[in-house]
């Protein structure tokens, strides 16, 4: 890779890392796993950088990231000391922290692929077809994962305190 390409790659890493970390966290529920998956994915992205069209790099990065997270689970990649833990945070609003934890707990009820589908559809705002390409599955699978994931979310969201807050808006 030329120095110019590497500079562009580094610029992409800086510009996209926060978004990738949040997407990865929403998908796997653990900040440390998310960080490792993002780093692994960006290293793979480096290897493919010269072959990717700039307009599709975001989708390609999400494909690598999603599959890296799924691969972690398939291999039982399970860091005991970091299981479903938030990173150390400065003292903040206790109520906000509780809401965040409750939201994360609701998402944790979903199997990984359903969660990944909903994150791509509703957090990343990807279409069904884009999501299918990123997750390497059919549009039908995306639709069924979306439907099943939403059904599970409804059941647990409805029973949570977050639903009460939502109804007050």
């Amino acid at each position: 890779m030329t120095p110019e390409s590497e500079a562009l790659f580094c610029e992409y890493v800086v510009d996209s890392r926060e978004a990738l970390l949040r997407t990865a966290y929403l998908t796997c529920g653990d900040w440390h796993r998310a960080e490792d998956a993002v780093q692994t994915s960006l290293i793979k992205l480096y290897g493919a950088w010269n072959r990717i069209r700039r307009e599709t790099v975001d989708a390609y990065a999400r494909r690598i990231l999603t599959n890296a997270l799924i691969d972690q689970t398939r291999r039982g990649w399970f860091r005991r000391e970091h299981a479903f833990a938030d990173p150390p945070e400065p003292p903040g609003d206790v109520a906000e922290d509780d809401d965040r934890a409750e939201a994360a707990a609701i998402l944790a009820r979903l199997p990984l692929r359903q969660r990944a589908t909903l994150v791509l559809r509703f957090w990343e705002d990807r279409s069904v077809e884009e999501t299918a390409r990123i997750m390497r599955c059919s549009s039908g699978t995306v639709k069924s994962n979306t439907a099943r994931g939403l059904k599970t979310l409804r059941e647990h969201y409805g029973a949570s305190s977050l639903a009460d807050q939502g109804s007050k808006r």
């Binding site: 929403l26 299981a83 939201a103 009820r109 059919s138 979310l153």
Partner: protein, 451 residues
């Protein structure tokens, strides 16, 4: 719950500070350069110097039909002349089983119990892997034997009885017993210490307070059956290490290993077993069970190919999973396996533009007998091909198979005598008879990524 609610839920979960600086672009750059250099070394092309790329066949995958012995048109990425049957119902579930075997699932488990058991299994086997242990597949023949953790109505607890092998060899193995139960507030600490430690002179017990709870550590020698299945050969004293973790939520996790090591390998310590017990996600709501699918397996294969082959682009749109028809032996094309072999096909394009077909095949051979290499060669159909066979350094048997019958197919296979599975990754030209420019080192890398 509407779409806006979903977005707000996601936003709420992802809110809070993110330490993005931990993802350092310079560190990624250096790692990427090292990775690129490593791939160039392992993906050496047999001729021409061009890297292999997987191309898209643009064929629509045919849904997996279930059951029956009537031949089907495999379709999709599979060879058009392949004698095929529908894949067995439950094959993918068997392939994904936690203990690498096909012991039954007990009847009467609720969905919640199955989810909890699956979550316990994942944590346990992941922790055992970090200790160098892998499932030693096999089912008891003299009494009911189930896969991993299950809820026992009779005893009112989750329990597990499994065997694992250490260091990739069945000669260093352990019998594991585990349980998770709700004390209902009853103090079991004194009772367990009394039962485990008072009457077993060969055991040493101690207590330790940990963040996960109070732990009874038990080490020493314990009498156990030489053959846990038939109980023949009587009882022998074996090294034993175990723990009882008494959690603050009135739940107890017990984990005991009866160690049968032929070598002088270090045995797990009580502290390591205590740490492992603490990882069992008791009291956490388990995620819904996700069934393995053809899409998932195809995606895994595609990712492994792209990781091992610089510039490769895999296409899973035509992914198809079939079981080989008995006519595979006589149809005049490559004999990938036999009637019990399941095989998944996808296609890919090389940077050179060559389209290749990749396959992932799997068959459960069970007990290898006295000669695992012979068992692997027979199942790999080496009688109809040229094979190089030998240990792969992980305890498995490696078979490099070259078929020159009709189409040239290279396949890297691995047979694990521990769990009895023979799996393999193969490559062939999608539109020609000549061998594709992919070598066994590349196929080994892909197979290693999938194992």
């Amino acid at each position: 719950m509407n779409e806006q609610d979903v977005q707000q839920l996601l936003a709420k979960a992802a809110s809070g500070p993110v330490v993005a600086d931990e993802v350092d672009p310079r560190a990624i750059l250096l790692a990427g350069r090292r990775d690129a250099a490593r791939r160039k070394r392992i993906a050496a092309v047999a001729a021409g110097g061009a890297a292999v790329v997987l191309g898209l066949a643009a064929a629509v995958g045919i849904p997996m039909a279930l059951g029956g012995e009537d031949p089907i048109a495999a379709g999709g990425a599979a060879p058009s002349d392949l004698p095929a049957l529908a894949a067995d119902d439950g094959f993918l579930e068997r392939l994904a089983r936690s203990d690498g075997s096909d012991c039954p699932i007990p009847d009467g488990q609720s969905e919640e119990q199955r989810q909890a058991a699956a979550a316990y299994n994942q944590a346990l086997y992941a922790g055992l892997a970090e200790l160098g242990a892998a499932p030693l597949g096999g089912c008891l023949t003299t009494r009911p034997d189930y896969d991993g953790f299950y809820y026992s109505d009779d005893q009112g607890l989750y329990m597990l009885e499994e065997s694992v092998a250490f260091g990739g060899t069945a000669s260093d193995w352990a019998r594991i017993g585990a349980a998770v139960w709700d004390t209902g507030g009853v103090d079991y600490e004194a009772q367990m210490e009394d039962e485990e430690c008072t009457y077993n002179e060969g055991l040493t017990c101690s207590w330790e307070d940990t963040p996960a709870g109070r732990v009874l550590l038990i080490e020493g020698v314990r009498s156990d059956f030489a053959n846990p299945d038939t109980e023949s050969g009587g009882s022998i004293d074996y090294p034993s290490v175990g723990v009882f973790l008494f959690r603050d939520d009135d739940m107890v996790v017990s984990l005991t290993l009866s160690l049968r090591f032929a070598s002088d390998r270090d045995v797990p310590t009580a502290d390591q077993i205590a740490a492992l017990a603490a990882t069992i996600p008791v009291g956490q709501e388990a995620p819904e069970l996700e069934q393995p699918t053809v899409d998932n397996l195809a995606a895994d294969l595609a990712d492994a190919v792209e990781a091992a082959v610089p510039g490769a682009t895999a296409d899973t749109d035509g992914a198809v999973l079939v079981r080989l028809h008995p006519d595979i032996a006589t149809y005049g094309g490559p004999v990938y396996g036999a009637k019990a072999t399941h095989i998944l096909f996808i296609t890919a394009e090389l940077p050179t533009g060559e389209t290749v077909r990749l396959s992932f095949q799997a068959e459960h051979l069970g007990d290898p007998g006295d000669d695992p290499e012979a068992a692997a060669e027979a199942a790999a159909q080496c009688g109809d091909a040229e094979c190089e066979t030998g240990p792969d350094g992980t305890g498995a048997v490696s078979v490099h198979r070259t078929i020159e019958d009709g189409r040239s197919v290279l396949t890297s296979l691995a047979y694990s005598p521990l769990d009895g599975w023979l799996i393999g990754v193969g490559v062939e030209s999608a539109d020609g008879a000549e061998a594709p420019a992919v070598d066994f080192a590349t196929l080994d890398a892909i197979l290693g990524d999938l194992r």
